[in-house]
Assembly symmetry: C2
Homo-oligomer: 136 residues x 2
Amino acid sequence: MDTFGRHLLVEFHGCDRKILNDEKRISALLHRAVLAAKATPVGEVFHRFSPQGVSGVVVIEESHLSIHTWPEDGYAAVDFYTCGECFPDAASEVMKDGLGAESVESMLVHRGVAGEGDSMQVRRHRRVRAEEPAAE
Amino acid sequence: MDTFGRHLLVEFHGCDRKILNDEKRISALLHRAVLAAKATPVGEVFHRFSPQGVSGVVVIEESHLSIHTWPEDGYAAVDFYTCGECFPDAASEVMKDGLGAESVESMLVHRGVAGEGDSMQVRRHRRVRAEEPAAE
């Protein structure tokens, strides 16, 4: 079975609230992240909420990148779901810098795992403040 | 902070391969799932891959529903990310029936959890074959 995927769930806190509410900047940032992941975009949908907040998804050959923002809380929830030769951690770094996040919490879930065990497996869960080095 | 979200990751195995490769049916099914979750769609993007497979996302007021299918393996990876008053489990049931899945594995991750602890928390992880009752 060749369905193996890496699903990186990321929580960005302490972000720039103005950026979080700017659909164009969020869209541009997501596309930079797609590029950093060396993924290939095939479609997208973005939506700006009233009074605030942006949701966006870029569907890629390798699955999808999504974002939901809560400007009032300086918070964004991002998903990097990739299959094949991709670099979701590089994409996450681009998002962190672009959002000006003070802290990042990420969880890596392997999906479509072949064999008798679980099809989904949590492989990593870590929390990093901007000034700290990453710790497993 | 009102960023709390329920992110239900679901793996459907043993699905109807013809349905998994039919973009129109996958799109219709995802919209039925959105309806079952009592969510409000605000945008969508679907893509059919060559030689096979479908990716699709419906962005909803309450976040998003996504699907990636591998017809060759009878497998689909689905995400129901909802905030507020929604029913992701009902949406998952609709998907299970619509895909004719033989087994379902689901993981519920709470996101945007306020307080000093982790912002993401795995709250449930279960695997169910179609003929078995759900067990926590």
